[in-house]
């Protein structure tokens, strides 16, 4: 049973971390809330939730979490970012705040460019039945001020697109969704991530 023994951390600086926790626990994972570097110990996977990417990026700097998360990935830990979390994963961020010179620090674990608010402001937010590679029926995807991905590198798999824009990618043991699976009652993407975390762990072991 995938996820039976998985220990998953959810970055809990801000945002929808409790929703992720609830679904992951319903699938049998043991969940830890990650606020400081020490919280990363002993985890198989880490979820970066939706929220505000500028806020989370600032707090990642304040609590010196950037390098520990990169080290966690380098040691084989699976990482999944949703919406703001996906922005934190990308190689390059477009549409960052003007006062930061349009630049925003990111983890650089996903070889793609992410465009913030690619679909517009809150009045342009939408829900859609999204075909996802590897799932046999469309996924009820909730897009909120959502980003989209461009320029994926050769090792990146595009798992879903919407209106011509890439909205779900994977690369090795990194998963990125521009939408919010934690806001729907469908646990299939969470199950996919738990499978990724377990497989990565068994490859390393």
């Amino acid at each position: 049973m995938a996820g039976k023994s998985s220990r998953i951390g959810v970055l809990a600086l801000q945002g929808a971390f409790r929703e992720h926790r609830r679904i992951l626990e319903s699938l049998g994972a043991a969940v830890t809330e990650v606020r400081l570097p020490a919280d990363l110990a002993e985890l198989d996977g880490l979820v970066l939730p939706g929220g505000e990417s500028t806020t989370m990026a600032r707090l990642l700097t304040v609590y010196a979490l950037w390098q520990p998360i990169r080290a966690f990935h380098a040691a084989g830990g699976a990482i999944w970012g949703t919406c703001a979390g996906a922005i934190l994963l990308a190689r390059e961020v477009r549409g960052a705040p003007p006062q930061f010179g349009g630049k925003q620090e990111s983890l650089g674990l996903l070889d793609a460019v992410v465009q913030r608010n690619a679909f517009g402001r809150q009045i342009n937010s939408f829900a859609a039945a999204l075909p996802v590679a590897g799932l046999d029926a469309a996924f009820p995807a909730v897009f909120i001020r959502a980003p989209a991905f461009t320029a994926p590198g050769p090792q990146v798999n595009t798992l879903a697109t919407w209106e011509g824009q890439a909205v779900m990618l994977s690369q090795g043991h990194v998963l990125a969704t521009a939408f919010h699976p934690e806001l729907s009652s469908d646990p299939r993407v969470h199950a996919l991530f738990l499978k990724m975390a377990v497989e990565t762990k068994s490859e390393i072991a």
Partner: protein, 298 residues
């Protein structure tokens, strides 16, 4: 999703959007420069308004929706969501803010009410709304009208957190009281609270409001913000408390950290140090009844 109505889908988008602010701080700003400071300090959203509540108190007169030009400047200055306030019941101010592309509307008792009986029917709008509430009945009436987020009213512009604590304790206490009631008593509970029956049933089943619940009104220090989180709220609005203090940048950063680490007293002790003077504050007992903002709304 096939059997859900367009309103269900709109609720999912708006309620979900409100979830993204959780564990975050929403800051009042009156200029694009202040908005930049708030964003750099880690605010999850800014509330664009012409005068912070402390100045609204001093100036008196009628407080209204902000100048659209100022709101547009703030929208252009930051990438985080921008909220703005309308007077209670002012349908047209809300239509204007929606047309401007504001991400969230606060139907706020801090402005002078435009309607003494009725709030805006928020389901008529695509843009989500946040409304203040002093107790559970008021909170559920606002959710029934379509609000996507509830906040305490507190006593805005006073720097005194006591009223926000009272509202939080009241709402959360009433939720616990409903949970303890048997199902067959819920219709009478709904009558007594003057709240929609279906929402009372939701609270009974889930032990929480159907939308996120934030603190607002009188939050002036990192400890105030952490206190509201400890009581069980989802996040914090800070108004006059930041830009009426000695060092807004440091205080804003400290309050953001306090909301993340509200359970860690070591972190709180460290970030509360040497922030300069907080806003002066007003003792709520000194306010004559006409000056109290929290009592507005029905």
């Amino acid at each position: 999703m096939s059997d859900s109505t367009p309103q269900d889908q709109q609720n999912q988008l708006n309620f979900g959007f409100a979830e993204m602010f959780k564990g975050g701080v929403i800051m009042d700003v009156v200029t694009a420069d202040q908005a930049r400071i708030a964003e750099a300090a880690g605010a999850t959203a800014v509330m664009a308004l012409e005068r912070v509540p402390a100045d609204i108190r001093v100036d008196g007169g009628v407080a209204r929706m902000s100048d659209p030009k100022m709101i547009k400047e703030i929208i252009a200055a930051v990438t985080i969501p921008v909220m703005a306030k309308v007077r209670i019941g002012h349908i047209v101010e809300a239509q204007i803010l929606q047309a401007l592309g504001v991400d969230f509307i606060d139907e706020s008792e801090v402005l002078t009410p435009a309607d003494e009986q009725f709030h805006i029917l928020k389901t008529d709008f695509k843009v989500p709304f946040v409304c203040g509430a002093k107790n559970l009945g008021e909170a559920l009436r606002r959710v029934g009208e379509g609000a996507s987020m509830i906040r305490t009213k507190g006593e805005a512009g006073t720097g005194n957190v006591v009223e926000a604590v009272r509202h939080a304790r009241t709402v959360l206490g009433e939720i616990r009281a409903i949970q303890a009631r048997p199902t067959e008593e819920l219709m009478t509970v709904a009558r007594d609270l003057q709240a929609p029956y279906e929402l009372v049933r939701y609270v009974h089943q889930h032990g929480k409001l159907p939308v996120v619940n934030f603190a607002a009104g009188g939050v002036a220090t990192p400890a105030d913000a952490a206190l509201m989180m400890v009581l069980g709220l989802d996040g914090v609005f800070v108004g006059s408390g930041i830009f009426k203090s000695d060092n807004p940048e440091r205080r804003a950063q400290a309050i953001v950290k306090a909301v993340t680490h509200f359970q860690n007293a070591d972190v709180l002790a460290e970030i509360s140090e040497d922030l300069g003077a907080p806003m002066t504050g007003i003792n709520i007992d000194d306010l004559i009844p006409a000056e109290r903002l929290a009592s507005r709304g029905w």
